[in-house]
Point group: C2
Chain length 153, copies 2
DNA sequence: CCTGAAAAATTATTCGC
DNA sequence: GCGAATAATTTTTCAGG
């Protein structure tokens, strides 16, 4: 699963435009279409490229209210954590969730229409998650970087 | 810019697969190809659909080390914040950055290969950002939800 | 492992209704 | 908005270096 410079170029191009035709990709990376198609297929097969997705404007969708909720849980045994994880994954408004080292707290990113929408989501879906002990919400005032996918490639 | 249920279905489908042909989309939403193509074109034109992107596996790329860095800045005047924002946007390893209400702190999500990689990025790129006053780093132990794009649609 | 062109398949667009 | 015909793209294949 080694990626050479050509693979990186292909990935970069597909990160910028998932619908770029193979012919154009081939031109960009300086190869013919055949090897480019093979490389892409291979990267799909090994699960490196997991899919292709439309990128939507949060502003145009009216979904600009971003809040990070820090959650401490009352039970940090594996079974409880698994249960918590599964419950979090079932909430569509949760865009991201990471377990943070230290006190086994979670950091949950919630996207909503506005403060009222967030309060509803929080009351109905976040605060009722299993084993929630304590939460702190950090409301975003401005999206400085959003959806950056350069991944340092 | 009103979106009806059909538009939502189209967006959902394109979030799941940006390369879905119009014929298949049409079948899914119960319309013929013509109106579906028109709706997509319209949503692209008004900037609701901003693009199409390949989704890569952080695991396969070896980029699983996620850290949230909380940064307090020493100057919260508009000009300073603009300068900070521009500098943050220039760092490819910064996947997201939000300004948080309260003390005008920033929450910056950094993706790296491993702890060593993060330390280098932090030393070379994060800690030298303009007007950085104080930072706290929160290291992720587990990605519970990553790249969820359902957006509550 | 790559090239280049021919062939095949898929996809998008355009029409009258 | 429909559906069929048209037109255009795009992917795949294959002989050859």
């Amino acid at each position: 699963m080694k990626l050479d410079a050509t693979d990186h170029k292909i990935l970069s191009a597909l990160l910028a435009n998932a619908r770029m035709p193979i012919a154009e990709l081939a031109r960009k990376v300086g190869l013919s279409k055949t090897p480019v198609a093979q490389r892409i297929k291979h990267m799909e097969e090994i699960g490196l490229i997991t899919g292709y997705r439309a990128i939507l404007s949060p502003v145009k969708l009216g979904l600009t209210h971003v809040t990070y909720v820090e959650i401490s849980v009352s039970d940090t045994r594996e079974a409880a954590l698994q249960q918590f994880n599964a419950a979090v994954r079932a909430i569509p408004e949760v865009e991201e969730c990471y377990m943070i080292a230290g006190g086994c707290d979670y950091l949950v990113k919630v996207r909503a229409r506005d403060m009222g929408d967030f309060r509803r989501i929080f009351a109905e879906k976040i605060s009722v998650l299993p084993f929630v002990n304590n939460t702190s919400s950090y409301v975003s005032m401005e999206a400085v970087v959003e959806q950056n996918s350069a991944l340092g490639i």
